[in-house]
Amino acid sequence: MSEIKKGQPKRGVSVYSYAGVLNVSMTLDDVFKDMYDMGATCFELLTSHIENYPNPSTQWIDHFFWLCDKYKMQPAELGHWAETHLHRGPRMTDDEILANMVRDFKLANLLGFHSLRTKITCINRHCDPEPGWEKDIERALPYAEKYDVAMLSECHAPTTLKRKHIWDYIEFADKHQTKHFGINVDFGTFVNPKENDYPPEMKERMNRMVSEEDGGYSRPEDIIPILPYSRTCHAKFNYMDENFHECGIPYEQILNIMVEQGWNGNLVSEYEGPRRDEAEYLGDQLRRQHIMMNRILGY
């Protein structure tokens, strides 16, 4: 059996991390400057960060590319929403749903993104999809191919990588033999809510969440069968201590598995801990996380 060539995940940042400070105390230019300091080479943007979305001006687009160029930053993923209930009454028509999706595909293509974090309408906190999702994704697939984007559904805590709908998605991708639909693994799924080193108040919050639900979480090795279906993952973190250790997510194990499995996708940092509206605290947490990933990956 031939040996798998080691992967080289790219270190990046999701602008989502800056949601609490963007246009409050930092501009998009400031965010790019910050990400560059971390050694990030790619980023995620949300449609919510595009001025005058869904119709950005040519001036904004020019400035966007100027920022990418200045800070040597590659567009990785555009976070968007496959809306199905934008008006009162019954679900939108199939054509309305498709038109909204294709509009975002075109925009992603224009801005240089090849991954989309496609939010499929969910019916509960485990992100189980609204029945009928297959038809929407099936109709969108030819357009995703045309505009060279992969629709990635996020596996986000409390969803685990063993949840049925994750495997329904993988089965769907296999059935259609497509690389344009897959999974974005959010590393929050690896948090063991009962056993972690988070500060007491965070630990308590996570324990409370678990007592309400079934408390499942993913193990690092659960990511192995998912990786071929993933181009971009959310490098979620909740708290980095002063020793550059994420207190609840086994980063070393996860990243080493990704490298061993030959994964070359984008890792975009998503900070979801406290004090997200304080630019200095947030910047420090992000830098700590990138030091950790730099040490594990060696770059």
Partner: protein, 158 residues
């Protein structure tokens, strides 16, 4: 740049008619959510100023330069309200507010496709499924309206 509050200090003043009488007053707000909303996803509630309730049906919302009533927003699935664009809420109140400090609160919420059961109240009679008044620990679609979640004290000059 916007202020790190729901209700903004900037944009708070009376609204004058051409003849110099006062039609009402206005203030600005933002959702503080991490993403923008299509207007049809927004659920506008009452404004409460100095303990006086100004009913949701009477308020006018100016978003990206266009005036909307609460009812008019429900069907605008083509208008996107970007995350840090502020809305101006115009409140009919003949005579307006006096110069000085006022407590201003605006009740609102939204619906989206995010990890919650689909909205039961298609007529928009509630405040949606998420937002500062949503009782996330309780039954979806229930609200803590007495929480004064968005209340802020502002100083009015004119």
């Amino acid at each position: 740049m916007v202020e790190n509050y729901y209700v903004q200090a900037r944009g708070f003043h009376n609204i004058y008619n051409d003849d110099g009488t006062i039609w009402g007053f206005q203030f600005c707000m933002r959702t503080k959510y991490y993403k923008g909303l299509w207007l049809s996803q927004f659920r506008a509630g009452d404004a409460i100023v100095d303990g006086v309730k100004y009913p949701r049906e009477t308020l006018i919302w100016n978003i990206q330069g266009m005036d909307y009533t609460r009812e008019e927003m429900y069907d605008r699935m083509d208008q996107y309200w970007q995350v840090n664009d502020i809305a101006t809420v115009k409140v009919p109140c003949p005579g307006g507010l006096k110069q000085g400090y006022h407590t201003v609160e605006i009740q609102f919420g939204w619906v989206n496709n995010y990890n919650t059961p689909l909205e039961a109240e298609y007529d928009g009679s509630g405040l949606g499924l998420m937002g500062p008044y949503s009782n996330l620990g309780g039954k979806p679609g229930t609200y803590k309206l007495d929480s004064k979640a968005t209340e802020r004290t502002l100083l009015l000059v004119w």
